[in-house]
């Protein structure tokens, strides 16, 4: 069974921020809880784009602040771009 969007998002977050995926709460905030610097936010967006083969609008993507927010945003983008 393929990983859910949430699992894949957490994996990407863990790899990019070099933290343990198991320690990431669904509602975790990228900056305040996971310690993402602005540079890492950019790298996260790039990694999500690659993982899900989507294009994300920087303006909108960087406005997403939490893991579950990212899941929702990415799921919508995947649906829109890959139907």
């Amino acid at each position: 069974m393929s990983d859910s969007v949430l699992d894949r998002v957490k994996r990407v977050v863990a790899e990019t921020l070099e933290i343990d995926a198991g320690s990431i709460d669904d509602a975790a905030r990228f900056v305040e809880d996971l310690g993402a610097q602005s540079i890492q936010s950019v790298e996260l967006v790039a990694a999500f784009e690659e993982e899900f083969d989507i294009d994300m609008d920087d303006d909108e993507a960087l406005a997403v602040k939490t893991v579950d927010g990212a899941v929702e945003f990415i799921a919508a983008a995947v649906e829109k771009q890959h139907g």
Partner: protein, 659 residues
């Protein structure tokens, strides 16, 4: 100065009165005066050699409203010419070999002495960029950033260097004089010792410790001041500049509108328009226009900078105990270095990049402007290409530089271009995109990073870099097109082909050069070098005129470049663009410009986010923290810059519709 026709020797009565006023002379026959001369305000003076006195009556203003009598009180003058309305008082040792212009005030000083044949700092060879030599700039009192750049940075054509040296030496020889000069309205007080220093009009010298072999250029509209505790040797300080606070200068040129102080020390360095240097140290630096270093523990060494901001503790190394201090570095225009950033030269940083951390390996990111460059724990360099293209700091910089130009309106020597996006920076982005695209194609997904000239880039960011640069390139090209159409139509030109045409005398080069603040196409630069090489340019003034001609051609050359780049990027020829094509371009511009402005606005908004409020307020109460934050920083909605962005976003739609 006084008319020579009115000059006469002192008469017996005047000599007698001066003697009564405790004045002496080695030979009274060598003391001459102007027709309206009065002895009334000359007391306790000693005259040695040839002395030419002006009308020393009435009062002079010292400070804001302090009126004091003109004249000479307790001073020894040797071979001096004293203009009308001068006040000289309390000279500890002597004033020797000086022409002192009208309305000058010299008070409470030690010695002011000039030696015959002095060049007053002109001709000093400044070992910029390489303290071991090989790139010396000969300084002189009309030196521009561009002339110095050619002397220092362009050593690949020896004939050009030789001609520049000849021309600089010509200018230096003109500065050689047997007398020092103190210009009209200058104020000199509490200066301990001044030897071979020429002082310009309206200059203010107060409390300087020791000044030797220098020129202080100054003008009524841009007075120069040299303040407390300054020690300067072999120097030129230009108009509108302030050097104070115990600054120490040794073999330095400090250009127009600069601020140097708070114990800053500099050796073998050149500073051009509007530099600011406090607390720290510079050694063999070419500080192009708007180089700013404000903090203690910051050492700039063997580097070339412009429009630069050095964070506290910024430092570089220029040798590794091998063949001496042979390494040098270039931070191209608009760079910033973060607190305690360190670079081991040689390094070259592309324009408008930010360097953080301790870099113990060298890198060259010239084709990747606007990048984030950070050292990893092991000293390797990590780069995020193009990150700062759409950040609020970059946009603010562009707006603030022209506003902070402290130079007088006339006589500006350094030619400057302030636009962040221009053929030089956008050309670099085009090259950056080509490299990133190539790497994106050839790098397998299993690889986490790629290395570009010593800088590591996360593979996933190759695509991001391309995206950033493309948006910057497109915005610049479209913005230039839209602005040109708007300006031409506002001026009454409506025929599209005509207003889009490249002017016949425009010069197109793919590559543009940043000549210490002045941007010009490579071909114009090569032509200039050709004229120097062939001896066509026979004086500093002719070189400056040629540079000014290039400067004046910027807009037409830029437009020629935009034509060329537009074709590369959009595969459309602007020569054949019709009204419909123009409308489409305007819509495209509206989209990219709006997106860009929104990104800037978002970046500005980050400054008001909750995490930014950390540290505000005394207790854990969120409402108190917010109130404290708001009390200090205001709200996002009230922020002036943010408001201007919102206005610009609203204007984009109108401008696009009007095309």
């Amino acid at each position: 100065m006084n008319s020579e026709q009115d000059r006469r020797p002192l008469n017996d009565d005047e000599i007698s009165r001066l003697k009564q006023q405790r004045c002496t002379a080695t030979d009274w026959s060598r003391v001459t005066c102007t027709a309206e001369f009065s002895t009334d305000q000359i007391w306790d003076a000693r005259f040695d050699g040839d002395i030419r006195l002006g009308r020393l009556t009435g009062d002079v203003t010292v400070g804001d409203n302090d009126q004091r009598p003109a004249g000479i009180h307790r001073a020894t003058l040797r071979n001096c010419q004293v203009g009308n309305g001068v006040r000289i008082a309390q000279v500890g040792s002597e004033i020797a070999n000086y022409n002192i212009d009208e309305d000058v005030v010299i008070e409470d000083v030690g010695a002011i002495v000039a030696m015959p044949g002095s060049k007053f700092g002109n001709g000093v060879e400044v070992a910029a960029l390489n303290e071991g030599g090989g790139r010396e700039a000969i300084i002189f009192d009309q030196l521009s950033a561009q002339f110095a750049f050619l002397q220092v940075a362009h050593r690949s054509q020896p004939a050009v260097t030789e001609q520049l040296t000849r021309l600089a030496e010509q200018a230096v020889s003109r500065a050689e004089r047997d007398r020092g000069t103190i210009g009209r309205g200058a104020r000199i007080s509490q200066v301990t010792r001044m030897t071979n220093v020429a002082v310009g009009e309206a200059a203010m010298l107060s409390g300087a410790a020791e000044l030797e072999n220098g020129t202080i250029l100054s003008a009524a509209e841009a007075p120069t001041s040299v303040g407390t505790g300054v020690i300067a040797k072999d120097f030129i300080i230009a108009e509108g500049t302030d050097v104070s606070g115990g600054a120490v200068l040794d073999s330095c040129f400090v250009g127009q509108g600069c601020r140097v102080g708070k114990q800053f020390s500099a050796e073998g360095s050149l500073f051009f328009a509007n530099c600011e240097a406090f607390h720290g140290e510079a050694c063999s630096v070419f500080a192009g226009p708007y180089t700013v270093t404000h903090h203690k523990s910051t050492l700039l060494i063997a580097g070339m900078f412009s429009f630069y901001n050095a964070g506290s503790g910024t430092n570089q190394s220029n040798h590794m105990y091998k063949l001496g201090p042979v390494h040098e570095g270039k931070l191209e225009r608009g760079c910033k270095t973060g607190s305690f950033s360190y670079m081991m030269w040689p390094c070259r940083v592309g324009p408008f990049s930010v360097v953080l951390g301790k870099h113990t390996r060298t890198f060259d990111t010239r084709d990747f402007p606007f990048s984030h460059i950070e050292a990893k724990a092991d000293g390797r360099c990590e780069m995020v290409p193009g990150l700062y293209l759409s950040t609020v700091g970059t946009v603010r910089d562009e707006a603030k530089w022209p506003q902070r130009d402290r130079r007088g309106e006339s006589g500006r020597r350094d030619r400057l271009h302030f636009k962040v996006l221009n053929p030089m920076t956008v050309g670099r982005m085009l090259r950056g995109v080509a490299t990133l695209e190539e790497l994106k194609q050839e790098t397998p997904r299993t690889k986490k990073t790629v290395s570009i000239n010593g800088a590591e880039v996360a593979r996933v960011l190759l695509r991001t870099g391309v995206k950033y640069y493309r948006s910057g390139i497109e915005m610049y090209l479209l913005e230039t097109l839209v602005s040109r159409v708007e300006s031409a139509r506002a001026a009454g030109s409506v025929e599209l082909r005509q207003l889009l045409a490249v002017e016949s005398d425009a010069v197109l080069s793919e590559e543009w050069i940043d000549l210490a603040g002045q941007l010009l196409p490579r071909h114009r630069f090569d032509d200039l070098c050709g004229m120097l090489e062939s001896g066509q340019l026979e004086s500093v003034e002719q070189v400056e005129a040629a540079l000014t001609k290039c400067h004046a051609a910027y807009e037409k050359d830029e437009w020629a470049w935009v034509h060329w780049a537009y074709k590369q990027v959009f595969e459309r020829d602007l020569e054949t663009l019709d009204e419909e094509g123009l409308r489409q371009a305007a819509q495209h511009w509206r989209d990219v410009r709006t997106k860009f402005l929104k990104l800037i606005a978002n970046d500005a908004a980050k400054e008001f986010e909750e995490v930014t409020q950390t540290g505000f307020g005394h207790s854990d109460a969120a409402d108190e923290r917010l109130a404290d934050f708001t009390g200090v920083r205001g709200t996002l909605e009230e922020n002036k810059f943010f408001g201007q962005l919102q206005e610009q976003i609203a204007e984009v739609e109108d401008r696009a519709s009007a095309i």
